[in-house]
């Protein structure tokens, strides 16, 4: 591992300059479907942050301590997705027992997360980019926060636009994509502020 890739650089890059949603289009499905209200988006955002960080750590361990030693790396897709699904299930059960409040806040979003491309995406990127354990955790955390920032901003804009007159053929997905495009442009303005060398 080259010393150049510091964890804080990866962390900030994942939030701003290389936002997983706005530059890699991962997690678009729930992005377009859920991002109509700020509150719901925030709930889903927190759930994604939590699951992404934890599963990137778990998947890193599974990859480097189980798959690599036994030459089973070609099975990583299955293993990653099973770990993510199992983790989400367990968290859902624990939250249900421990706190009603938390369950109402996060619980309903958890099933949505298993099929969120961004979660699996983070795990796959982290493996292909050969991050260290610490870097992977911060990459997961940063990507989660970046995703949350994007979805909340999107929801805020869409709430404001609820009464705007949008061309009929653009209502719904069309206008959402245009907003996302403009947001992606805005986020590109961050590049240059953080430097990974």
């Amino acid at each position: 591992m080259s010393e150049g890739l510091a964890f804080y650089a990866i962390f900030f890059a994942a939030i701003f300059t290389n936002n997983i949603l706005l530059t890699n289009y991962l997690g678009m499905c729930s992005f377009l479907a859920v991002s109509r209200e700020v509150d719901t988006s925030m709930g889903l955002g927190w759930a994604v942050v939590f699951v992404m960080t934890a599963t990137s750590a778990l998947n890193w361990l599974a990859y480097h301590y189980i798959l690599v030693p036994f030459d089973l790396t070609y099975l990583r897709f299955v293993v990653f997705i099973v770990i993510i699904a199992a983790f989400v299930q367990i968290v859902e059960m624990i939250i249900e027992r421990v706190s009603d409040k938390l369950y109402i806040a996060l619980g309903i979003f958890l099933p949505l997360i298993t099929v969120n491309c961004a979660i699996l995406g983070v795990s796959l990127f982290m493996v292909i980019r050969e991050y260290t354990f610490i870097n992977s955790i911060f990459f997961g955390l940063g990507s989660g926060i970046g995703w949350m920032v994007a979805i909340i901003a999107m929801a805020g804009i869409r709430q404001k636009m609820a009464r705007s007159r949008v061309p009929r053929a653009l209502v719904g997905a069309g206008i959402a994509l245009i907003i996302a495009g403009i947001m992606a442009l805005a986020f590109m303005g961050f590049s240059g502020m953080i430097k990974i060398t």
Binding site: S2, Y74, L75, V78, F125, R129, E130, I196, T197
Partner: protein
């Protein structure tokens, strides 16, 4: 009777899942075992091709030609632990060294970039550059793998710096990629680091 149906209800999904898992994993494992050698061979071939390309030999990407040229002309210079330090390429049909190739890794925008960098026998100019592994953004930083970008390094002299894409470059300069300043900088660092490495490793021993 109630207990039995309970057991059936609980056990059936688990058994079913297990069977499906075993079935699919066996299928993929079989396919993997059959293609494993091809994949390994591909990777090895890729390295050989990169070494020859970076060495400026101007060979096509025909696998047979590459295998033959690599066997005939390339020598791996290893250290005591068996790690390859650099490659030497001989001129066709002679014992004279035509070029040296160093495999250099450096930090890119997203992950590491591994490249083969070739030098002429006096180590004072570049013979070529070949990207072996990179995770840059496709279509942007990923363009470091495009032919026009790699070809421009031939004959350039270290240390290199970059000029904007499309501008004329002197012999110490190469054209950057628009919109991919980090990837460009990464390549600049890699070629210059490779030159440093070559100077200490190759000149130091001969």
């Amino acid at each position: 009777m109630k207990k039995e149906s309970f057991a059936k209800k609980r056990m059936y999904p688990v058994v079913f899942m297990l069977l499906v898992t075993v079935a699919f994993i066996s299928v993929t494992t079989v396919i993997y075992t059959f293609t494993k050698d091809t994949i390994k061979l591909n990777e090895r071939l890729r390295l050989k091709q990169a070494v020859l390309y970076a060495g400026g030999t101007g060979l096509s990407s025909d696998p047979v030609e590459i295998e033959k040229a690599f066997d005939d002309r390339v020598e791996e210079i290893k250290d005591d632990s068996g790690r390859v330090r650099y490659y030497t390429i001989r001129e066709e049909g002679t014992a004279d060294i035509e070029s040296y190739v160093v495999i250099q890794t450096g930090a890119g925008l997203w992950g590491e970039i591994t490249a083969g960098v070739g030098f002429d026998r006096d180590l004072d100019s570049f013979r070529g550059l070949e990207i072996i592994d990179q995770n840059e953004t496709p279509g942007l930083g990923g363009r470091i793998d495009e032919a026009w970008f790699k070809e421009q390094f031939m004959g350039k002299q270290p240390p290199l710096s970059s000029v904007p894409e499309g501008d004329p470059a002197s012999e110490n300069q190469f054209q950057a990629i628009t919109g991919a300043s980090y990837s460009t900088e990464a390549i600049q660092n890699i070629v210059n680091a490779a030159r440093e490495y070559a100077r200490t490793e190759i000149q130091g021993t001969e």
